[in-house]
Subunit: 377 residues, 2 copies
Amino acid sequence: EKVYNVVVLPGDGIGPEVTGEAARVLELVSQKAKDFKIKLQSQLFGGAAIDAAGKPLPEETIKACEAADAMLLGAVGGPKWGVGKVRPEQGLLALRVHFDLYANVRPALFPSQSLVKHSPLKEDIARGTDIIVVRELVKGLYIGERQEADLDTPGSTGEASDMMRYNKHDVERITRLAAYLALQSKPPKKLHSIDKANVLACSRLWRRVVTETVEREFSSQGVEVDHQLVDSAAMVMVSNPKKLNGIVLTENMFGDILSDESSVIPGSLGLLPSASLAGLPDGKSACKGLYEPIHGSAPDIAGQGIANPIGTILSAALLLRYSLGRPNEAEAVETAVRKVLDAQEDGGLGMRTKDLGGNAGSKEIGDKVLEVLETLL
Amino acid sequence: EKVYNVVVLPGDGIGPEVTGEAARVLELVSQKAKDFKIKLQSQLFGGAAIDAAGKPLPEETIKACEAADAMLLGAVGGPKWGVGKVRPEQGLLALRVHFDLYANVRPALFPSQSLVKHSPLKEDIARGTDIIVVRELVKGLYIGERQEADLDTPGSTGEASDMMRYNKHDVERITRLAAYLALQSKPPKKLHSIDKANVLACSRLWRRVVTETVEREFSSQGVEVDHQLVDSAAMVMVSNPKKLNGIVLTENMFGDILSDESSVIPGSLGLLPSASLAGLPDGKSACKGLYEPIHGSAPDIAGQGIANPIGTILSAALLLRYSLGRPNEAEAVETAVRKVLDAQEDGGLGMRTKDLGGNAGSKEIGDKVLEVLETLL
Ligand SMILES: CC(C)[C@H](C(=O)O)[C@@H](O)C(=O)O
Ligand SMILES: CC(C)[C@H](C(=O)O)[C@@H](O)C(=O)O
């Protein structure tokens, strides 16, 4: 019997509350599984780790993550650590680099079509949006050499710089990952590669390597790619997001912006999951991954038990699929969530968290998901 | 009697059609004015200049622009020149650098509130949006040293790089310009400075210099500034754009993305103007500026006389205000446009261009604006 190790990094704010519900989901999956078990352990991370151990990513946490198959993260940050030299998000950036988590996968889709009324977009524009943003996560402006400005020496020009740098290998591997995800659907999803090739050398490299990699390795399987400029994509994402249906493939900084922009379309940030992967999640080799909801630590509602746990529960589903290679269990969790959301909307059961206009608590939602999931496993 | 020189750069696609209508507006203003005249002359630019003179910004065009008070541009680019080594938009980038047009001003507001139904956002979310994006336009990733990737030598890693660089002076001058615009309203508009200070050294410089410049020079006049991360701003721009009402102040690449994102809120790209300025438009010294609608060259509808000329006409209004120091005439043009748009919406006169669901031609709209403007001057 296979045993998987999952490290839970509750982090800050509402992190512990939402990972708590997702952990219960993973425990139920483990309990019901015939041929595997999931072992969960919690580790310090983010602001909580700064308070307890002086740094956002303590050695003990790194060690535990090295020994694990996957990490499930709540959220990091908060005003308490906002301005210091040691900040919670440094732990997140360090974790990405340490495990070379080069692919950030961010679905912006409606976990239940009934949610379209919560979108800020007009319903006919939002309905049917089905985008997965694949963002390169460890290169570009995030990792290039920097020079901090000297603003305190009189006479200094106060110049700062940041380097954006990509090489062929960086672009090839993220393209392969995007194409792999495209091929999970039949017919394959369309790839939309986003760059700024009319200005940046990195984008011209990006455009050419994406094109060549797809042509060489994936076009015979029916994968197609088009190319769009980032400014235009930022428009289309609002004016007609369905035009970007499929996989939106882009570099680190553009991906940071576009994935956040895309994530407001489905109407509640609390619903959306993410995965950050160190390799192709094709089940052929171990694929370490970090899974987290896309929402922040929401210090204003922390500790009240009212945070929406669904983004984290759906992150646990991605963890099952990509790092543990358990697509059936992943789908069961996603189906359970969809049923709960559909019931919330149709039956007026009052079973919604505050972000969706209800007053149910995190635990009530978790209970309901577990109840439905129990019947599906 | 003062004579102003304005160079018209029709450019490509629908460029000649839309600048044609805006030129008529400027001619009427000139004709009616008591103490000044506007002299217009056309020059080659963009793809049209590549075809006629082999480059997108010929010397003769530069010379004419050097002698002018302002430039009015239609649009550049098109599939015809899309992939070549000499491309139309290089002329635009060169023009910005040559005249140090460091401030791009892009209002994303409803020229007529009746247009809110054309917004892709739900009406209650879109209504009341009133944002001016002020984008630094000549520094950062657009101008830093680049290294193109070598993808053809076997064994090359194919590495590319682009440098983002800012100094204190760069940030001070764009902050002053944003604050100047904020002070045109009573009470002053709020400044929202956008950066990625949790990652980039340039953004930490940006944040500190914006803060210090506003505190030192503008806070006594009531100007306030807050700071937001670019990913979060890209979300808020869709989920609740009124939170960004005021002046959104940001660097070149972020501004390219956010200004385009903001511009879809009012529902027709054809309606929005822009200004790119070489200095404070405070009337104390000459402020050279380039004015253009934010839409592209739309080759698919070029030559049919159906393009919406309003973005270019409103750009001419900004030209009157900022480069010629003629606020009354600028306001008259804006009022004329608003009246025409209101009439289109309320009276069902059928006087709309295709992008707003009507079938009027560019010239009919131009005629109508001139007719109303005539009564206002
Ligand atoms: C916290 C921050 C450094 C991080 C990023 O920019 O990558 C976050 O915005 C994200 O997208 O996960
Ligand atoms: C054409 C292109 C180089 C330009 C830019 O990126 O600045 C355009 O997108 C703009 O915003 O004016």
